[in-house]
Amino acid sequence: MKTEPAQFVSLLIDHQEIIRSFIITQIPGSPDVRDILQEVNIVLWEKRASFKLGTNFGAWACSIARFKVLEHWRKEARRRGVLVFNDELSTSLADKTQDRDPGLIEEQREALEHCMSKLSEKNRRLLEVRYSSRSGGLEKLTKDTGRTNQSLRVTLFRLRTSLRNCVRSYLFAKGELS
């Protein structure tokens, strides 16, 4: 069955997090995930005619993403010494990532929204600085707070662990997790 453009865009938007997670599991620690995701989106759009509506969009998109990741690693990441998991592990992680329901990701986003609303302003700002491209990294925050970079990183680790536990509890309470 042919996929209408609007249907394809809807599928593409719904699966952005799955594709992003897939890319991260294949080249964890690389700073180029956003760039690769952009490239993958372009290729997916150009190849939209080859997708059959009703089949697994996540698996199809991730199979194309895998080629882009490999291409990137060969050109850039390997030269820069970015480490990647061995083939067996990469394949296993790919299988676990690509077949998930986009709805679950949406539930996680909702849970995260709830958990972040419980954070203090200070801790929320630390997360924003870490994840926002505008704030210039933790260096500016060390100046604002008088804390060292290492000390902020320790706090960041504790914060993310706490968020993860909160998300898990929220989803469990909603019956989304067994």
Partner: protein, 510 residues
């Protein structure tokens, strides 16, 4: 791998800060544990959602057709690729001696000390034809050791001490995110500006110094003439300074007076790293005199702490050169008020030591020198005598940074004087692949050990220790960890010495 270690490893990996050894351990754990893979994927999901939620990139706008979106993405990607192709020149000038170039075209030329280690990055491939010794608009200079002299087209001169990070924004403006710099501005350069994360300093015909550091608020020290200084933050206080005035940026946006410290700033290129020296020759009321040309030297106090036992009190005895400090454990040591050299800055420590051939009672861990944070991995800088045969030769010098150590080979417990030196951050040791060298009596030791992370010393936290001599920080009881032995001619250098330098220090010729 326990759950805590697993979680730390994953977040470090996603932040791009996990080293190869940690990566392989994590990989092995994930291969063995299917459940860990599930957990890893969930953590990646959370990480991805945080990126999407908090970054400045959103979903494509729905009002445009997808073809338009793809055309826009392709244009943006091309622009990013072009910028990503910028030339990066890495110049390591460990042995070049004061090369001076003064071409007509470059905005800024560089002259450097013999021991300088720096990296120049240009904004475009066309810039930087001066062999890495010129800067153009947008060029960045990162100095990790030594000093450089910068000369702008306008005649402005700057002497910069490592560690430093400067970017040339324009022919009359420099951005300094890190460093201690001394600027001399001739009449032709009036209007020259130095911008830091906290301050904007505008010259009105003068000589001034700027200090910027990620750990403290920035400062301007005026030596001659006039400047206007403005705080970027809060109330954005602006002030005109004249004569010998100095200001520190206040957190709320004010400018707070501070003591003028001209001794902190270089007035000429120094060919050797700055240093502190503790000779133990001069003891005045329980305080040793600290000498040396390190900018912090005049303000450092080195207090001799007494032992808890009357029969184990420290003493001053004949040393290798002049007098030496004899320690008998039980709390006797020297405590300073100096935080030590921080971060990954190269450094060297050298001293003479005589350890007894026999020690009564069980051998305990004994320390030579220590500073930094013991609670954070790789956060401390510590030199001790190794007593764990499983780690390395017993009695050998051991460098420990917390979850990482390097051990020499020579047993120092022989009742004889030995010269010991530790160099961190210099050249890579070919045998071990690590940037740490250990020397005994001027000879390079064969080393064993591992560094899980590159040492990144953290002074200035609640858990940090200021530099102490003759003591080991992680002792199990109040009386453990203190040195039993004699120390003489302790030097701490703010740079990586060569073997020839170390032999010079050893012979008393520094």
């Amino acid at each position: 791998m326990n759950p805590d270690e697993f979680e730390k490893s994953v977040w470090s990996l996603l932040d791009g800060s996990l080293d190869e050894e940690g990566f392989r351990k994590l990989e092995e754990f994930l291969i063995e544990q299917d459940e860990a893979q599930e957990q890893f994927v969930r953590m990646v999901d959370l990480h991805g959602i945080l990126i999407q939620k908090l970054s400045d990139q959103g979903a494509p706008p729905s009002v445009f057709s997808m073809d338009e979106v793809v055309r826009r993405q392709k244009r943006r990607y091309f622009k990013q690729s072009a910028m990503a192709a910028a030339a990066v020149l890495v110049l390591v000038a460990m042995v070049m001696k004061g090369v001076f170039m003064k071409p007509a075209e470059p905005l800024l030329t560089i002259r450097h000390s013999e021991d300088a280690v720096f990296q120049v990055t240009h904004a475009s491939e066309e810039d930087g034809d001066g062999g890495g010794l010129t800067l153009e608009k947008g060029s960045r200079l990162q100095l990790s050791q030594g000093g450089v002299e910068l000369t702008l087209q306008s005649g402005v001169q700057a002497l910069v001490r490592a560690p430093a990070d400067l970017t040339l924004h324009d022919d009359d403006r420099i951005y300094q995110s890190l460093g201690i710099s001394h600027f001399v501005v001739p009449p032709s350069g009036v209007g020259f500006q130095v911008q830091t994360p906290d301050l904007l300093v505008t010259d009105l015909g003068t000589e001034f110094g700027v200090i910027s550091s990620p750990d403290e608020l920035d400062q301007v020290h005026l030596f001659k003439g006039k400047v206007v200084v403005e705080n970027h933050w809060g109330v954005r206080h602006k002030e005109r300074l004249e004569g010998l005035q100095s200001r520190r940026a206040g957190p709320a946006g004010r400018l707070n007076p501070v003591d003028s410290r001209p001794e902190l700033f270089m007035t000429s290129l120094e060919d050797k790293p700055s240093y502190l020296r503790l000779s133990f020759d001069d003891l005045k009321r329980d305080e040793f005199v600290i000498s040396g040309n390190h900018p912090d030297a005049p303000g450092i106090r080195a207090t001799l702490l007494d032992s808890t036992r009357e029969d184990k009190r420290p003493g001053i005895v004949a040393g290798k050169f002049g007098k030496a400090l004899e320690l008998h454990g039980h709390g006797g040591c020297v405590q300073t008020n100096w935080p030590g050299i921080s971060g990954r800055s190269p450094r060297s420590v050298a001293f003479w030591v005589k350890l007894p051939a026999e020690i009564e009672g069980p051998h305990k861990q004994r320390g030579f020198l220590t500073w930094g944070d013991t609670d954070i991995e790789a956060g401390k800088f510590e030199l001790i005598v190794n007593r764990h045969r499983s780690i390395g030769p017993w009695g050998a010098i051991r460098f420990d940074c917390g979850k990482g150590h390097v051990v020499g080979e020579t047993n120092l417990y022989d009742g004889e004087w030995h010269h010991v030196a530790v160099v961190m951050g210099g050249v890579v040791d070919p045998a071990s692949g690590m940037k740490v060298q250990l020397y005994v009596d001027g000879e390079l030791e064969t080393i064993t050990g591992f560094l899980r992370n590159e040492p990144d010393t953290i002074p200035g936290t609640d858990e940090s220790s200021w530099m102490s001599v003759g003591r080991y920080l992680h002792a199990g009881s109040p009386n453990e960890g203190y040195l039993i032995g004699t120390l003489d001619e302790l030097y701490v250098f703010s740079g990586a010495l060569t073997q020839a330098d170390i032999r010079q220090v050893m012979n008393g010729d520094w």
